[in-house]
C-alpha cells in the first residue's frame, strides 16, 4: 500500500513540477495573445485565445493548489471574458488593466509563492474483496493536458478506470466504438466555445440510452449550464472541481440502478381500472402495487416505500385529498410525489387537490404514454432527491439517518436469518487539533482519506456512514465480532500509516473505534449504544485502538444496585464482572471466618474485616448488607462477641455472594476487551 501511495503522489508531484516549469511559457503565451489583441487588426479568434489561455492558467493553478496565481488570474479572466466576441468596446483603460493583471501573474510565478501545500491525497490500494471489484470505465475529455492528468490520477484513487482525451473527435470515435459507463466533459474547447455539449448532443441522440455525463466548466453562467442540460447532462460542476463531489456523482451515476425498479403504489377503489394502470406502468418497467381500499393504504405504503403514489380522487371512506394529507404527515413521505388520477374536470377542485398535497392532476382517461411519462419523470426526481437526502455531501457516505435505517433493516434481517450483525463507531483522534494546526481544508482531506479507505477496504455488503463531524459508522452484516474487530484493527493500522502533507510538514492521523455485535444486544438501539460505549473506552484507553463491546450486564443482581456499581465504569460490565467474581470467590467463607475471629476474641481483626466489607457493600450499592454490617460493627465495638444482628448480616452476605455467583460467564473472546490497556503495576 505504501508503495502505491508514494508512486501516485510522486506522479502528481511530477505533474505539478512540470506545470510550474511551464508557467513562464504559459504567461508569455498570455502576454503574446494580449499583444495580438492590442495590435490593430485582431480577429475574434485572438480574443478567444486570450480568454482560453488565461482560463486554462486559472484552472491549472487552482487544480495544483497554486492559490496566489489562481487569484491573480481571476481578474484577467473576467476582463478577457468581457472582450469575447471581437473585443467590441474595449478601450485603453481595459488594456492597462489587462497588462497589470498579466504583470501580477508573472510576479506570482517569479516569487515562487506557488509552492504551497501538497494537494495530493495519499492513495491506498484496494483490499482483496474491495468494492471496486468491477471498475467503472470513465471517459474524460478536456483540452488542458495538465488538468486532465491531475484529474485522472485523483479519480483513479476512487477506484474508477479513466481514459482521457484532449480532443473531441477521437473521444467521439472511442465512445461510438465502446461506450463508457460515464463521461466527464469540458464545455469549452479551442475554437468551439460549446464544443463539449455539442459533441455530447450528437452522441446521445444516436443512442437508445443516454450515457451519464458530468460537465465540468470554468464558467458557471446559465448559458453554459443550459447548453449542458440540453446535451442531457446528469450534473454540471464548476472548476476547480471538488474531486470528492465529482467521484460521488460518478459513483451514483454508474451504480447498477437497474435492479432498483421504480416503485409505484396505486390507490384506486375500482379494481379493473387500477389493474389497467398497473399494467401500463409494469410494461414500462415499473414495479406496482394496488390498494383498493384507501383506509388500508398505510401498511402497503410503509412496506413498499414507493417512489410515487398514483391515487384516485374519489373513493369510499376517504377522498384522495384526505389520504394525501395524511400520508404527507409521515416524515418519510413528506416529499413523496402524489399524482391524482380522476375524471374530475372542475378546475377549482383540481387546484384544491394540488394545494392540499398532490403534485399533479391527471384526467381520466389518460393515454398510456402520458401516464408513463408523468409517473416516470416525478419518480426519477424523487429518487435523485432521496439520494441527496441519504448521502453526506463531503464524503459521499451515507448520512446519519440513512445509516440508522440500514442498521435497523440489517438487524431485522438478522432476526429472520439468525446471522450476526456488527456495528462499529469510528472517531478520528484529536481531530480538532488537525483543524486548528493545519486548517479546515486539511481536516477535510483527512476526513475524505478515511472515508475513502473505508470504502476501499470494506465489503460491498457493508454500509459506511458519516455520523457528522469526525464520527463515522460501519454496519457489517453477516460478520462475526472477532472478524469485525480484526477488520477494524487492520483499518486502524492502515490509516495510522497514511501520511498527510501540509505546508511542507508531514503528519499522521489516527482513529479510535468501538465495535459491538447484535447477538450480545437486545436490539439495534442497544447495539448502537454498545458500540458508542466501546468507542468511549477506546478513547479513554489512549486512542488509536479498537475496543470490542463486551456482553451487556444483566438487568439486576439481587442484593446490590447494579446501576450504581457501574456508574463510574462507563458500562464496562466485563471489568466489573471479573472483579465481583474474584470478590465472591475470596469471600465465600467470610461469614464463618468472621465468626471464628469473634469467637477467638480478636475483635480488632474482626472489626477491620467488617470495615472493609462495609466499604465494598457501600460501593456496590448493597445497602442491606452495609446497614447490617454497621449494626454488627456497633455491637462488636460495644464488646459483644456474639452480636445479636449476626443472622441479618450473614443472610445479606449470602444474598450478595449468591447473586454474584449466579452470573453467567462472558463469552471467551471478551477476554480481549482490554488487551494492551492494563497499566496497573
Amino acid at each position: 500500500m505504501a508503495v502505491q501511495s508514494s508512486r501516485t503522489s510522486a506522479r502528481i508531484n511530477a505533474l505539478r513540477a512540470s506545470f510550474f516549469q511551464r508557467l513562464p511559457d504559459l504567461i508569455a503565451a498570455v502576454q503574446a495573445a494580449h499583444e495580438r489583441c492590442a495590435a490593430g487588426g485582431a480577429v475574434p479568434a485572438d480574443w478567444e485565445d486570450l480568454f482560453r489561455l488565461i482560463h486554462n492558467l486559472k484552472g491549472g493553478s487552482a487544480s495544483f493548489g497554486f492559490r496566489p496565481l489562481c487569484d491573480a488570474t481571476l481578474e484577467g479572466e473576467r476582463l478577457a471574458k468581457a472582450a469575447l466576441g471581437g473585443g467590441a468596446g474595449i478601450d485603453l483603460a481595459w488594456h492597462g488593466r489587462m497588462r497589470d493583471c498579466i504583470a501580477r501573474m508573472s510576479q506570482e510565478v517569479a516569487r515562487g509563492s506557488c509552492f504551497l501545500e501538497d494537494p495530493v491525497m495519499p492513495a491506498t490500494a484496494p483490499g482483496p474483496d474491495a468494492r471496486c471489484g468491477e471498475r467503472k470505465r470513465i471517459f474524460l475529455c478536456d483540452d488542458d493536458p495538465l488538468q486532465v492528468q491531475a484529474l485522472v490520477e485523483q479519480i483513479r484513487c476512487f477506484g474508477f478506470e479513466v481514459i482521457s482525451f484532449e480532443e473531441l473527435a477521437p473521444f467521439q470515435e472511442a465512445v461510438e466504438k465502446d461506450p463508457p459507463d460515464a463521461v466527464i466533459m469540458d464545455v469549452m474547447f479551442p475554437g468551439k466555445p460549446m464544443g463539449g455539449p455539442e459533441t455530447m448532443n450528437l452522441i446521445q441522440a444516436a443512442r437508445p440510452v443516454a450515457i451519464p455525463t458530468v460537465f465540468i466548466s470554468a464558467q458557471a453562467g446559465l448559458d453554459f449550464r443550459l447548453a449542458a442540460a440540453r446535451a442531457g447532462s446528469s450534473a454540471f460542476m464548476v472548476k476547480p472541481v471538488n474531486i470528492t463531489d465529482l467521484c460521488g456523482r460518478l459513483a451514483r451515476l454508474t451504480a447498477p440502478e437497474t435492479s432498483e425498479l421504480t416503485r409505484v403504489l396505486i390507490v384506486d377503489d375500482d379494481p379493473p381500472l387500477a389493474e389497467y394502470h398497473a399494467q401500463i406502468l409494469r410494461e414500462a418497467g415499473m414495479e406496482t402495487r394496488i390498494v383498493t381500499d384507501p383506509l388500508l393504504a398505510m401498511d402497503p405504503l410503509l412496506e413498499m416505500r414507493p417512489d410515487l403514489i398514483l391515487m384516485d380522487m374519489y373513493m369510499p371512506g376517504c377522498t384522495g385529498v384526505e389520504l394525501a394529507k395524511t400520508i404527507r404527515q409521515i416524515d418519510t413521505f413528506f416529499s413523496i410525489p402524489i399524482v391524482f388520477l380522476s375524471s374530475e374536470t372542475d378546475q377549482d377542485r383540481q387546484v384544491h387537490a394540488l394545494v392540499t398535497g398532490g403534485d399533479e392532476f391527471l384526467t381520466k382517461p389518460i393515454k398510456p404514454g402520458n401516464l408513463v411519462t408523468a409517473v416516470a419523470v416525478r419518480a426519477e426526481r424523487m429518487k435523485i432527491l432521496r439520494s441527496f437526502m441519504i448521502r453526506d455531501g463531503m464524503t459521499g457516505l451515507f448520512n446519519h439517518t440513512a445509516t440508522k435505517d440500514f442498521l435497523d433493516a440489517a438487524c431485522a434481517d438478522a432476526a429472520r436469518t439468525g446471522q450476526e450483525v456488527c456495528f462499529a463507531m469510528i472517531d478520528l483522534d484529536k481531530f480538532k487539533l488537525v483543524n486548528d494546526t493545519y486548517g479546515h481544508a486539511m481536516g477535510d482531506r483527512v476526513l475524505i482519506a478515511l472515508s475513502r479507505l473505508l470504502q476501499q477496504r470494506l465489503r460491498k455488503s457493508d454500509l459506511i456512514g458519516r455520523f457528522g463531524g469526525e464520527e463515522f459508522a460501519v454496519v457489517l452484516p453477516d460478520c462475526s465480532l472477532a472478524k469485525a474487530e480484526s477488520i477494524l484493527d487492520e483499518l486502524r493500522a492502515s490509516f495510522a500509516g497514511v501520511t498527510f502533507k501540509a505546508a511542507g510538514v508531514t503528519f499522521t492521523a489516527t482513529f479510535s473505534a468501538g465495535v459491538a455485535a447484535l447477538s450480545m444486544q437486545p436490539d439495534a438501539a442497544a447495539l448502537c449504544q454498545a458500540a458508542d460505549e466501546a468507542l468511549y473506552q477506546a478513547k479513554s484507553g489512549g486512542r488509536n485502538r479498537v475496543v470490542v463491546s463486551g456482553p451487556r450486564p444483566p438487568d439486576s443482581i439481587p442484593g446490590l444496585d447494579l446501576a450504581k456499581a457501574l456508574s463510574g465504569l462507563k458500562g464496562n460490565w466485563v471489568r466489573l464482572h471479573g472483579l465481583m467474581k474474584d470478590f465472591a470467590e475470596d469471600s465465600r467463607n467470610a461469614g464463618p471466618e468472621l465468626g471464628a475471629l469473634l469467637a477467638a476474641g480478636d475483635l480488632a481483626a474482626a472489626g477491620a474485616r467488617l470495615h472493609t466489607l462495609k466499604g465494598i457493600a457501600g460501593m456496590l450499592g448493597a445497602n442491606r448488607l452495609r446497614d447490617a454490617i454497621r449494626t454488627v460493627e456497633t455491637e462488636v465495638n460495644a464488646g459483644q462477641t456474639a452480636p445479636p444482628s449476626w443472622q441479618v448480616f450473614e443472610h445479606a452476605m449470602r444474598e450478595l455472594l449468591d447473586g454474584i455467583q449466579a452470573l453467567s460467564e462472558p463469552k471467551p473472546w471478551h477476554a480481549e476487551v482490554n488487551h494492551g490497556q492494563d497499566r496497573r503495576s
Partner: protein
C-alpha cells in the same frame, strides 16, 4: 479527555476496593498505578514525582491512610491526598487539615470520586 493522562496512585490492601477505585479512575482518563499499602505507596511516590494525587483507603494493616498522609508530608512536596473511608459517618471525624478530600465508600462512591478528582485537577 486529557492530552496526557494524569498519573494517580491508588493505595489499598483490599483487592476489590483498590481495583474498583483504579478502574473508575482509569475510565475517567487517569493513569492509574496501584500500591498495596503505605510503605509501597511511599516508595512509588518517591520513585515517580509526576504522581499528582494519592487516593488511599483508610483502614490498612501496618500503616493506615492517615499515617500514610502524615508520612507523605514528611517526605516533602506531597501529592494531593484523597482518603477513602468505610462510610460517611467516619468521614467527619477523620478529616485532617491539608487533606484534599475524603470520599465515603457508599453507593455514590464512583460519582463522588470522579467529581472530586476533577475538581482537584481542573486542568483535565
Amino acid at each position: 479527555m486529557n492530552e496526557t493522562p494524569i498519573p494517580v496512585l491508588v493505595v489499598g490492601d483490599d483487592a476489590f476496593t483498590a481495583s474498583l477505585t483504579g478502574m473508575v479512575l482509569e475510565e475517567a482518563g487517569y493513569d492509574v498505578t496501584l500500591a498495596e499499602g503505605g510503605p509501597d505507596a511511599l516508595a512509588k511516590v518517591a520513585g515517580n514525582p509526576a504522581i499528582r494525587v494519592v487516593v488511599s483507603d483508610l483502614n490498612m494493616p501496618g500503616m493506615n491512610g492517615v499515617q500514610l498522609f502524615a508520612a507523605l508530608r514528611e517526605q516533602g512536596h506531597p501529592p494531593l491526598f484523597v482518603l477513602l473511608t468505610g462510610d460517611g459517618q467516619e468521614a467527619q471525624r477523620t478529616l485532617f487539615p491539608g487533606m484534599a478530600a475524603i470520599v465515603a465508600k457508599d453507593e455514590q462512591f464512583q460519582e463522588t470520586l470522579t467529581e472530586t478528582l476533577a475538581a482537584l485537577l481542573p486542568a483535565t
